[in-house]
């Protein structure tokens, strides 16, 4: 008999069976930028639509930081920004959209450049603000159309409640924390885990909904989901983590639930589990790697302003020059790099042979053997297949934390 009272407190199963469509409101913050007119209620049936007629300084039109604000339930925000009225052959189109939470700049941005009709979606939450900035050169008829589709929410919203499960004894808590090996984070799955056998008392049977009974369906309790739990000692939280049901054993009329408590420390790795990089949410608002594959997006990050930036949040993707490797041939029975073969375009080199020299014009350069697609070409120094997409590891790690935390 111990004087110490250990209590296993678990979060009550969510008894919200009836799901209904949520209620989310989207509206453009006033004052809207000059020259922009809009109408509609922001629903799918009646999108919030608008257009601009004011020419920007460059002779086009501009949607200058229109703020869309959201209130209510979590929803999906769909947008269409259409500049297809722009004349073809416009040398430069620029589209830029910015996403901000709680009016803080530079938290989560997403840009797509050079897309005449941009369509997509974000998940938005209550109180969130999305800023839209779009600039089109040579175009005066830009229209936008946005609406929200609320997610399903429980009809009866219940606050998080807790209940105490029956234990067959004190929970044996032993603290042995140590500096973990940093080399292998997977070995740090959790600070510690704790196996417990819970008796099949009425209270526990209620919580696990008679999981041993093959006739019953799990209605509120889900064995595949983790149950947030605490271990309390004298009403103080001593262990915080989650509980997982491993198995149920029935011997005669004695029911026992075999559970494991996992500490929240190192929970990230437990959550990542067997997921791979491909399982990340690449449509996240904050870390959005998806983009239209266009010449504008491909070269956008080569802009000097980006390369000079000292921001801790560099572009999420980049198209570096990636040398594909050499063409190998057999010369006198040996494998060698083909540097002399013909035709000359088969030779994979960054530079062509006419490295040195000055030429009066492009024609003279070409006549002297200069080739487009070589980096010393004054006109087209790169072949398009030499720019390969690359993802920002910083962004990927951020996305992991955002998705699994």
């Amino acid at each position: 008999m111990s004087n110490q009272q250990t209590v296993l407190r678990v979060q009550t199963n969510n008894k919200t069976q009836v799901m209904v469509t949520g209620n989310t409101l989207v509206y453009a913050a006033v004052p809207v930028p000059t020259g922009v007119t809009y109408g509609g209620s922001g629903t799918q049936a009646s999108p919030l639509t608008g257009s601009t007629s004011t020419a920007s300084a460059g002779g086009g039109s501009i949607l200058d930081n229109i703020e869309f604000r959201f209130s209510g339930d979590t929803a999906t925000f769909y947008y269409t920004i259409d500049s297809t009225t722009a004349p073809t052959g416009v040398p430069y189109q620029n589209f830029f959209s910015s996403v901000a939470f709680d009016n803080k700049n530079a938290v989560g941005t997403y840009q797509d450049i050079g897309i005449r009709k941009l369509e997509g979606s974000f998940t938005v939450t209550n109180g969130e603000i999305i800023r839209l900035y779009a600039e089109y050169v040579g175009c005066t008829g830009v229209t936008f159309s946005v609406y929200v589709v609320p997610e399903s929410v429980p009809l009866v919203k219940q606050p998080t409640t807790y209940q105490n499960l029956d234990l067959s004894g004190d929970i044996p808590i032993k603290i042995s924390k140590s500096f973990a090996e940093i080399e292998d984070i997977s070995k740090r799955n959790s600070d510690y885990s704790l196996g417990l056998i819970l008796p099949g008392s009425k209270k526990n049977n209620k919580f696990f909904e008679d999981y041993f009974n093959v006739d019953t369906q799990s209605l509120f309790f889900n064995a595949t989901l983790r149950v947030p739990c605490d271990v309390l000692i004298d009403d103080q939280r001593y262990f915080n983590g989650y509980m997982k049901l491993n198995k149920v054993s029935v011997m005669n009329s004695m029911v026992e639930y075999d559970v494991t408590l996992y500490s929240n420390v190192g929970d990230l790795f437990g959550k990542i589990g067997n997921n791979l990089l491909k399982d990340l949410d690449y449509n996240s608002i904050d870390y959005r790697f998806n983009h239209y594959f266009s010449i504008y997006n491909t070269v956008a990050d080569w802009n000097y302003s980006i390369l000079q930036s000292n921001s801790i949040a560099p572009p999420l993707y980049f198209y570096p020059i990636v040398h594909n490797g050499y063409d190998y041939i057999q010369v006198s029975g040996e494998t060698q790099v083909n540097i002399t073969g013909t035709p000359i375009t088969n030779v994979t080199r960054l530079y062509d042979s006419t490295v040195v020299g000055s030429y009066a014009n492009t024609g003279a350069f070409t006549a002297a053997g200069g080739v487009e697609g070589r980096i010393n070409s004054p006109t087209k120094p790169l072949l398009d297949n030499q720019l390969k997409p690359a993802l920002n590891i910083w962004g990927l790690i951020q996305l992991m934390f955002a998705g699994f935390n």
């Binding site: 069976q17 009425k202 008679d210 209605l219």
Partner: protein, 533 residues
Amino acid sequence: MSTFYYPAQYANGLNSNSQIRRSADMIYQRGGTYEVILRGDTYYQSMSLNVDLFADDNYVGRMSVVPYDVLQSGSTPDFIYTYKFNVRPYQYLSNYVQTEHYQYYHKNDWFTTNNIININNPYPNNVKFHMEYGWTYIDNNNVSQTESGGGPSNNYNHFTDIPYGAALTGFTASGFTNTGKYFDYVGGSFQMDTDHYLLPNFDQEVGTAMGTGSTVNTISSNRTLSPMTQFLMSNPTLPEPAQTSRFLTDAPRIQYVQSDDNYVLYYLAGQTGDRQVIPADYLVLQFYNSSNVRIDYVQQQLTFSGTTYESPTGFTDNLRVFNLPVGPADISNLYSDVDWSTVDYYTAQIFYGLPTDDPDRVATGPVGPLSEAFSFYVVDNCLPENTRVAFLNARGGFDYFTFTAYRQDTTKIKTTTYDSRYYSPDLSSPDRNFGRSVKTFDTNVDYDIVIESDYITVQQSKWLEQMFYSPQVYIMGKDYISPLDRQDKYYKDMLPVTVTSTEVETFTKKHKKLNKYRITLRTANNFFVNKGF
């Protein structure tokens, strides 16, 4: 498009004969089957029945039941398929039946006490249950199909005859009436063999008059086969048949109590789910001296005209277990001052009354008895070995028994110490005053109690055996007033214990047997010690 429906045997809508049953039942039992019959024009192997379970109108769970039998009838191409499902919700619902002995009552205030221990009792040891069902299957395109597109929505109703209605419906299943969806499960247990319900199939429900059509005229036209019926006495005959009883106990109806003992009777009252009102209007206590002359009489009105337990409205299912304190200490504290020195024995009995329009809602009565009479012989034990034990019995009430022969308390103490090499150069007092070098930092106490009964009869022994396997056993002290609470609030002194071992010594003389029990109890609460240093 496949169509399915629940066929009705008669115009009254009876789907299965298992619906012919009383609504009240004991929850701890084997079987308890509810049959649902579904008929349709298509056979689906995946056909199952979703059953939503409701405890006290709260949605608490769902069962998914596969058919135990599928029948094909008709001829091609118009085959008819009949699916039969058995639903067994008892085990699941038993989690929602909670019981505790009541903790306190108010001196000389039966109304407040009644509200505390009965009307607002958080552990009433019964649950009002209903269930809703609906079919579901996965069609040939792997699409899940459910009835009416949503959750289960068909109530499972019970059917009973109305034996004393203005227009008799007859004792045939076709004349039975749909009496609604609510079932009352009481936290009692029920054994097939020892309770004389020897049915060949354990899964067969108890309380149903078996058969089809007009075969209800079995030995029991009023469904007395239900194990609960004997506790739902609303129309007693006098003297009461031996097999009926009102109080939820198997205790001998003659009890021996001491003049400061507590004793509580438990009974069911209210309206059942099948709308039979089980009244309990008056407690009648009659006191006798050794010459069998009645020397005192006390009546206490239990329910009042116009209240929900006296006059339930049409659909109200308010059947529940009631506590009725009737021990000598309870009588003195709650109902009346009685001179116990002159009382040799007394009886306790429930009576009914007649509702009136009295502004104080006082009923007219007591009119006639509604229960057997419990007799209490007041015998004070002068020895100090009294150990009164309260335990949850098999019927859902608590029983009380005093062990008077012997008691031995054993305290096993385990201490853990540590060495403390105390040395302090800045203290000048003699070292021996505080020079303790072995200090105790943990003390564990196991508190065992061995008690013995007197020689008791075999009949009493059979009843007392319920204590040995009871999940709730307490050593019961005298009522006390807590220093933390108000003066007129009497608390029960209930020390939780578990029965760890039992020995019996049998004394046989000619054809009479007497048993003497020796029981080891271990206290089931934590023992706190002064931590000292």
